[in-house]
Symmetry: C2
Subunit: 558 residues, 2 copies
Amino acid sequence: MLNLFCIVTVLVLFINTLKPLVPNVDKKLESLVIVKVIPDQQYPPTKGEVWPKPQQQIKEQTYFKLSPSVFKFTEKGETCEILKNAIERYTIVLRDIHRIVCRHSKKKWKHAETRKLDTNPDYKGTLEELQINLSRPCEAYPHMDMDENYSLNVSAVSSLTSDSIWGILRGMETFAQLFYLSNGYKDVLINSTQIVDFPRYPYRGLLIDTSRHYLSVANILKTLDAMEMNKMNVLHWHIVDDQSFPYQSEKFPQLSEQGAYDPSMVYTKANINKIVKYARDRGIRVLPEFDVPGHTKSWGAAYPGILTQCYESGKVVGLGPMDPTQNTTYKLIRELFREVQDLFPDKYFHLGGDEVAMDCWRSNPDILNFMARHNMTSTSELHAYFMTKVLPLLGQKSKPIVWQEVFYDGAVLPSDAIIQVWKTIGPQDMIAILSKRHKVIYSSSWYLDQLSNGGDWYNFYVFDPRRIIDSKSLKLEDIVGGEACMWGEVVDDTNFIARVWPRASAPAEVLWSALNPQYTLSNGSEIASRLEEHVCRMNRRGIHAQPANGPSVCIGRI
Amino acid sequence: MLNLFCIVTVLVLFINTLKPLVPNVDKKLESLVIVKVIPDQQYPPTKGEVWPKPQQQIKEQTYFKLSPSVFKFTEKGETCEILKNAIERYTIVLRDIHRIVCRHSKKKWKHAETRKLDTNPDYKGTLEELQINLSRPCEAYPHMDMDENYSLNVSAVSSLTSDSIWGILRGMETFAQLFYLSNGYKDVLINSTQIVDFPRYPYRGLLIDTSRHYLSVANILKTLDAMEMNKMNVLHWHIVDDQSFPYQSEKFPQLSEQGAYDPSMVYTKANINKIVKYARDRGIRVLPEFDVPGHTKSWGAAYPGILTQCYESGKVVGLGPMDPTQNTTYKLIRELFREVQDLFPDKYFHLGGDEVAMDCWRSNPDILNFMARHNMTSTSELHAYFMTKVLPLLGQKSKPIVWQEVFYDGAVLPSDAIIQVWKTIGPQDMIAILSKRHKVIYSSSWYLDQLSNGGDWYNFYVFDPRRIIDSKSLKLEDIVGGEACMWGEVVDDTNFIARVWPRASAPAEVLWSALNPQYTLSNGSEIASRLEEHVCRMNRRGIHAQPANGPSVCIGRI
């Protein structure tokens, strides 16, 4: 299997000193790779199976037919705008599924076949209603401790029950996924089903990077549609980086005027409000990241004074990370972050803190003087100094999330700071962080920029991060979840959706369902078949997810 | 750099016994990998550079401005429908480039800046005309020996000269690519340029596979647009295979009625006529492949009798390759191929002949009896027997192309049969075939289903197949070209275009330009920058090619 591509890869690795963000793996983990599927193989899609898999489900042989002119959602408990929007949205989803039937029935529908359905003893008639029993008033915005539990009972008059609007939203998605086309695409059916469901992890995120390539607002909204279908609940928006500054600030308009790729490639206040509201309606938080002090070159287009001058042989050769010795740096950060905090209602704020180019700091005589005056012997201490000054700038309004380097470099972290692990695949970083009583978001296994041949989702269907830690003294609940990361170097509007989906569906299921490893080990085909159905379902709802496995067909794609 | 994904890959290879179509590589070829670029790095796009690179080009500092209201194409020699269509098409291309200027000029256009252009001594005014001097009458259809040479001279009144309509088409594409946006997207400029250009190889193909996943007609037409932009001239249409039979036959309508994925997922006679004409207008041949005797399970939906029954422990367990012992097999092939020959005007017909599941043949007692009666000791002989009977069924109308197994298994091949090499990356198969005086199409290096991280086009920018053969006794001109192969296991309408482009642009340039390896070795950045411009150019012309390298921006994408 040695081929030219491997050889090229070796050569390229040799000449490649700049490869960003590739996690290392703990060799002992080989035994934890748990889905056995054959790449490029055809897997028959399931019918009406839910992705991610519900925690408890009983499905009966009896079934009902969907007729959009008969079926209705009814609010039996509390209600609110979020619920009303969801009812409108899912009414359209069900109507669209039914349209496939209408298109197919034009040519071939026969009364005889209708009768065949009607006389089948398992057929229980037309589905009439889903009663929605929301027992508590809606919360205004999703949050880390949001309640997503729900129970669903499908019969002629069906019911969905939850204490929380977020649980209702999850249940409505599950309900929509239970429908399937049958009898040669001539009927939309749903089986009698009882489900009790809840997520394993409260934080199930997707990172998007709008700095390496700009992503259109339409594409971000489409991403939120797909996240809802996969029960992911955090859009981690890595909005700016070295390459461009598309965030349009009202206080500092020059940041995007000078730093965006183009005046058309910015996110205005109106854009962000729209995205945040669209996400909230789907029970999804939008977590802003403004990465400091590294990954900030685009800030320097407007404000070069806040960046460090990098030296070579006594001469300035360019600009590097933020300059931690300048008060103006912190002032700009504070003012900008206040504006961002007003725009993003989430209780968390991601400050970045990864991959600081410390060589540049070390090359600069003023920085070295500053370090000497403050008795610092390493630039890691300077990084810690910088982050320790920046963290309190968030004030009471937001709690911080930072990449793991901030923890390891020794910044003074508030106890409620969450650390995002990305550098090692395996337990060791999580153990180090948990033992200091910080919460953890794990993302190392889910770097979607890692490509392999074929439908490579199984590379990301790896392990439940809480299960790989073998320690009774650690509080595993402090691993609050994980995140699929789609770094933007080689994705833009042309390929973003198809590259993310269904690959991100793998961590979405791991983080929601946390299936027993024994089950996973022996059910590769079942998982592949469910994902096959799920991809077609996404396609039918307008999300251009790429093929999951091998050869396949999806009727009714939008 | 060892990571989880490698580990998963190793595991998957272990459990994967069905992986199709992965070529092996000759280890000695390591030294021939010749483009040095850094994955994920940002490469600044060139301005008005042509892809694939012309053979001879002189570009001057002086330049002209494009004004669509002034500029016109004029026919000074022969003309025909193909030329008139091309003029219409490129008139729109130039108008669309200019629209980007109009959009940008609305906000910021200043008379001062106009004057700045007008007073620049290198500025020579507005481009008025491209005179098209076609010296011979148009041919009706492109062919293996088509003349694609042209010369182009850009000045106020520019001229494009060729003996052949096909050369004129190539030159018009080059002309369109010489334009670039300048002065902050406020002007479309073109430099004074002289080009003499011709292809290194007469056959520069792209294989599409419409059986593993159906591709819409719209997507195939878009692919032809992209091929024209990359000066590729053969669409190798692997139209049917095991998984589905989308070709709609008039003589045998049941083949697609039973064998297509869905009644909507077929190619009708009208669809094929449209595709063939669209391709011809762009100087692109459409080469049909009906792969026999393997890769034919979908034929069996309508005609199970032509397939071999495979046995296990004395019982029939399924259907395998075509049954070479049945006369009905050959009769169906002959009748179907006659119809296909009438529909596709190309002088070649691809008969496949790869990867025959000989285990099935060996399991069948009737096949074994037949072999014994004909004194055959191996199923390779049976394969040769089958192909030797099928090859003459093409009659005088088409010459055959076959995959390399047909050659190695010893079929009696007519001297004008072309052999397509796919199994080994390197010279050995080409040498074996050339020494038997057959022509060769080389495709092993260009399997686009081989994915790597980053903008991985450089994996396909490998070597000129004629240059790696170190033999004076062989006729290197018999290597007629090469082909990028996009097998369909994991591509469909959602990701096809973005996955093929710009990755197929790499072999397109190798096969047209055949740049000196010394040049290639030392100009990785230049190649990457030209491809960066080319991707944006494709985007602006409505082809959603994915990012070529690392972070980038494309203004004016459609």
